[in-house]
């Protein structure tokens, strides 16, 4: 198999409402990624775009509409889509492009402009539920998270307080991220006292709706060596989807994330992830999700993630820094762009270029993960310097 490296990265600000169109956001992230490694679009063989529901941008076939902004003009350009897991799947898609020999260079772009959807982007989520058997109940997106969080708390005897600390940690980490939308210094009490939207979920347990884009440039080993002495390798990829009959499975554990992680670990030769992974960016659209995902990623035992959090192990200075970027909770959550933001964070951490966010100990192995669909999809990338 051909080795595939990340050689450049770009990102926009994450904003509640961007003046830029989706095309323009895609362009800004792509241009910054190309500039960061001294390339132009001419150097790019193929392009893959990740973007989540068309209902956000309010354009049918939005991959087509975004294509010129994403650098796809007159190139083999394709859109990939696994719901909220798309942001970490997009670089996996780019990985096939290069590892297969079809391309020596691939531009991976992720865009989301949620603010176009009115009156609130959450409305777009009603139609993620089964059209015949669930939508007539008028579900809101938060239902499914609240149902899952409740089941998780019940199974392991956790309290809301155990979980609120995730929001506190991530929003504080985001104070150091230049793209961050809602960085904040909060206390656990602030989270617990924020508005209850759907018990057990409070407002500060939830990441915001956001506009933003991110991009990375992937290259074959031969090409990468010519333009950088610090390539970051995509060493393992994995993704997995569970049944659409979400109410018929145990919600307290994301078995699909475990399956995806095992695929990625096997490829990357990782046997003891809790010891070998030095920095991780699991998906944190809701506070409990970070903990849920740490468990699915086998970074700790089932039900033990809250303890690692409480003990400070997952702080930037801890033994296993989790979401040093500030995550979706702090940097913002333009769905697909968030996943790629996490990939970029690990890329920077492994290159020692994360600035104020840099975790100590010169990490050499990191991981980014996203989650999507109806509690169904896990996408995992293991990266090595």
């Amino acid at each position: 198999m051909r080795r595939v490296a990340i050689v450049g990265a770009g990102i926009t600000k994450f904003m509640r409402r961007a003046q830029e169109t989706g095309k323009e956001l895609s362009y800004e992230a792509s241009k910054m990624a190309l500039d960061s490694c001294g390339l132009t679009l001419k150097d790019i063989d193929m392009v893959t775009l990740g973007t989540a529901p068309d209902a956000f941008d309010g354009v049918h076939m939005k991959g087509e509409w975004l294509s010129d902004g994403a650098g796809g003009w007159r190139k083999p350009y394709i859109r990939n889509y696994v719901g909220g897991g798309t942001g970490v799947f997009a670089p996996i898609h780019g990985f096939f492009h290069v590892a297969s020999g079809m391309a020596d260079s691939c531009l991976v772009v992720c865009e989301e402009k949620m603010s176009s959807c009115h009156p609130h982007p959450q409305g777009a989520f009603k139609t993620i539920f089964d059209h015949t058997l669930e939508q007539p109940l008028n579900p809101t997106l938060i239902w499914i998270f609240a149902l899952e969080m409740n089941r998780y708390m019940h199974t392991y005897g956790l309290t809301k307080k155990d979980i609120a600390l995730v929001s506190v940690k991530n929003k504080r980490n985001a104070l150091d991220h230049p793209s961050a939308q809602i960085p904040e210094n909060l206390t656990v009490e602030d989270v617990l006292n924020s508005e209850t939207l759907a018990w057990p979920v409070n407002r500060l347990d939830i990441s915001p709706a956001s506009d933003g884009a991110a991009a990375v440039v992937l290259m074959s080993e031969e090409k990468a060596r010519k333009i950088t002495d610090r390539p970051v390798w995509i060493s393992g990829v994995g993704w997995n989807i569970d049944t659409a009959y979400w109410a018929t499975k145990e919600l307290c554990y994301p078995r699909y994330v475990e399956k995806a992680a095992r695929q990625a670990y096997e490829m990357a030769g990782i046997k003891e992830p809790h010891k070998e992974i030095q920095v991780a960016e699991p998906y944190d659209p809701f506070s409990y999700k970070e903990l849920h995902h740490m468990e699915g990623l086998l970074l700790c035992k089932k039900g033990e993630a809250p303890k690692l959090l409480a003990d400070g192990v997952t702080q930037r200075t801890g033994n296993l820094p989790i979401c040093p970027s500030g995550g979706a909770l702090g940097v913002g959550n333009p769905i697909a762009a968030t996943g790629l933001m996490k990939i970029i964070e690990i890329f920077l951490q492994l290159r020692g270029e994360a600035g104020k966010r840099q975790v100590p100990g010169n990490p050499k192995v990191g991981l980014a993960q996203a989650w999507g669909d109806l509690m169904q999809v896990g996408t995992v990338v293991v990266m090595k310097s």
């Binding site: 198999m1 007159r74 590892a99 297969s100 059209h131 995806a260």
Partner: protein, 376 residues
């Protein structure tokens, strides 16, 4: 480099309506056939690709509803919002990357369930520049047909000949929904859709599903008596802007075919390729696509078809089989595979060694894909 083959195909018969089955049941039917044809079970398939768009399915995240009916629960499965042939390209890359040995690709149409198809199509137009003009989406095809005929010298009569040919071909295809014996006058008298486009120039909608199983060379050889090898595959998007595109020319088909020919080592497609299935969602598109991919000189496709000298779209094309949304490219590929295996019955070509299937994503896109297949 090792090769990749298509080792199994499954298709439903395509129909104007399919009220007896849900989308899940429709897809399950095609998947069952494809796995049986490949002599595998769903457990042998290591990864899955569905080609689908949210606003076609009527879901905000259609990807959620993809795994069960393919046997893909707890497997690596993805959605490509693209033509089936792009999905084949993705499966090809995953196998060539050495990640998987067996991958299944699916596309389907439940077109009959969309109650406002023109509104859905219009929703793909640029929201600021184009959509407020409030035009029926076929106008994009009307603009393109007009400029294409003007530039190439092909005529509306030539376009009518495509309709006559493809609907007649479909009479011999048991999967086709719209086989008919009609003549050029019937097309001319069908009424205007968006001048110069007439109603009969537009393919009718159909429901249906197609699944294919791909495998790496070693697996293909051990499982299949008639593997069909992927010699080349590529795809391309020209500009999405209505204001900036070259209306007279299918640039995406030209560029995608050029790359696919390079991969396949094809220098003269007209001579080297026996089975040709191209997108004909609108009649003029067949002519435009054939010329863009070098099957004849520019401006000659119409006359060659009128004179019966180009035997393209023996399946009946979208005009004869029905327009299957993202599965249209699948129907084109299905016919090529069937011909290359020698299983096309009364449609069977005597010489069928190399084949090409091409798909286009419909208005208002400029995205298309090309795959070149061979039976040896």
């Amino acid at each position: 480099m090792k090769r990749v083959a298509i080792i199994g195909t499954g298709s439903t018969a395509h129909k104007a309506k399919t009220p007896d089955v849900s989308y899940r049941e429709l897809i399950f039917g095609a998947a069952t056939k494809a796995y049986a044809d490949a002599r595998i079970t769903h457990k042998d398939v290591q990864s899955f690709v569905t080609c689908a768009e949210d606003f076609i399915e009527g879901y905000s995240i259609a990807d959620e509803y993809t795994p069960d009916q393919l046997g893909a629960v707890l497997k690596p499965m993805q959605t490509i919002p693209g033509d089936f042939i792009q999905g084949l390209g993705v499966a090809y890359m995953m196998i060539q990357a050495g990640i998987f040995r067996i991958v299944a690709v699916e596309a389907h149409s439940k077109f009959s369930n969309i109650k406002t198809p023109d509104e859905v199509a219009s929703f793909a137009l640029d929201p600021v520049y184009n959509r407020p003009l409030n035009l029926n989406p076929h106008f994009v095809a009307g603009l393109e047909m007009n400029r294409y005929l003007h530039d190439s010298g092909n005529t509306a009569t030539h376009c009518a000949a495509v309709v006559v040919k493809n609907r007649k071909n479909a009479l011999k295809n048991p999967l086709a929904a719209y086989g008919a014996e009609i003549n050029i006058k019937d097309v001319e008298n069908s009424g205007e859709a968006s001048w110069p486009l007439r109603k009969a120039d537009v393919s009718n909608r159909a429901d249906g599903c197609i699944v294919m199983v791909l495998a790496d060379e070693d697996t293909a050889k051990s499982l299949s008596k008639k593997p069909v090898w992927i010699k080349g595959v590529s795809w391309c998007s020209d500009t999405p802007g209505l204001e900036t595109r070259e209306w007279g020319k299918a640039v995406y088909a030209e560029l995608a075919s050029k790359k696919a020919y390079e991969m396949a080592g094809i220098k003269n497609p007209a001579k080297e390729i026996d089975v040709v299935e191209v997108d004909d969602e609108y009649s003029y598109k067949e002519l435009q696509h054939l010329e863009a991919m070098g099957f004849c000189e520019k401006g000659t496709a119409g006359k060659l078809i009128l004179d019966g000298e180009l035997s393209t779209n023996l399946s009946g094309g979208s005009l004869g089989m029905g327009h299957l949304l993202e599965a249209s490219g699948a129907a084109r590929t299905y016919e090529v595979v069937t011909q290359l295996r020698g299983d096309a019955g009364e449609r069977q070509l005597k010489k069928a060694g190399f084949g090409l299937a091409q798909g286009w994503r419909g208005v208002p896109t400029t995205t298309g894909a090309v795959i070149i297949l061979a039976n040896s």
